[in-house]
């Protein structure tokens, strides 16, 4: 071990089925790779599941930072970072679409060339998705193509949210980003490029959530189009 510590931010809202599983998988894969970590659960509304997990895994590994009500994903990250004690922060969804088995690969990639950010990508190499029909793939690829041409971000998966950051890098980025939802993830990378941060990618398989439903859905495409236009016009 290198003295590096990884704080994993898990923002959760109505993830009572998923949270125990993701926690269990995190502990399994990170312990197996001898990685020093803490899991920070930012739960909006129903912290009882996380409390049970804390009893099992201990207060050092499971840190609870609940909030009273649903306050959104962006502020959940800000809230979580404040309490992170690691020198790196990993952000991922708690809905099992981001598998903890990839984290050791993220860390290895980061260490290889002391990168500021490592991001998971569904669009390159062995990366991919499960549970997407033709329409969803088409929209996803089309949107990605447009983004690549307009923003040339040097990152193949701008809307993904499975990423590793050096803690100070994430702090700076979160402060300078104003968007919400998907656009937030895009803006983080575009701003990172402006600041000259280095970035690496690890192919991931994205398995659509098994339990519960997406909270960001709905006007996905409208949100995305607006965000793309905003970033195109301002950066």
């Amino acid at each position: 071990m290198s003295g590096d510590k990884y704080s994993i931010l898990l923002p959760t809202y109505n993830e009572r089925e998923n949270l125990p599983i993701i926690t269990w998988l995190l502990v399994k894969h990170l312990d197996a790779a001898d990685i020093d970590f803490e899991i920070i659960v930012i739960d909006d509304g129903s912290p009882d599941v996380a409390k049970q997990l804390q009893k099992i895994y201990g207060e050092k590994r499971i840190v609870l930072r609940p909030r009273e009500k649903k306050l959104g994903l962006g502020t959940a990250y800000i809230h979580g970072i404040k309490h992170a004690t690691g020198n790196h922060v990993i952000i991922m969804d708690a809905d099992l679409s981001h598998h903890p088995k990839f984290i050791p690969e993220f860390i290895k990639k980061q260490q290889e060339s002391d990168l500021d950010i490592v991001t998971g990508t569904r669009y390159v190499g062995t990366g991919g998705v499960y549970g997407w029909d033709f329409r969803r793939k088409l929209v996803s690829r089309g949107a990605n193509f447009l983004t690549q041409i307009l923003l040339r971000p040097g990152c193949s998966d701008l809307t993904g949210s499975f990423r590793l950051y050096k803690k100070p890098v994430l702090e700076k980025l979160v402060k300078s980003c104003v968007s919400k939802g998907y656009v937030f993830q895009m803006e983080m990378i575009v701003r990172a490029r402006q600041f000259g941060y280095s970035l690496g990618e690890v192919p991931i398989s994205f398995v659509d959530r098994v339990y519960g439903e997406s909270k960001l859905g709905g006007s996905e495409i409208v949100q995305f189009a607006k965000g793309l236009l905003y970033l195109f016009a301002t950066t």
Binding site: I56, F145, G154
Partner: protein, 108 residues
Amino acid sequence: MLKIICYHIRHVGKEEGINTGDSLSIPKLFQWLMAGGAFLALWISLLLGYIDSDINDSTKDVILFLYSVAVIGYRVATFNDCVQSAEELQNDITEAKKDLMAKGFNFD
């Protein structure tokens, strides 16, 4: 717009490939074929006097359209389906539940 596309063709490998080793997900051969195809189309149309000095707007649109359709079509068709990961996850869930219950976790 055409400028943007040419730029894209030339720089995409370099920029998207940062630290990934593997650019785009389009094999090099296809990248060259697409770029080559686009230039060939231009050259032939110039040769036949189909366009005189400057390329007219509708031709640009057609080229842009064909390029986009080709790239997006190829990427949709080659979008990996991670069937194995999905199966693996199901096994993970079963195993996790069993172990957590043994540790005293209560899934109501």
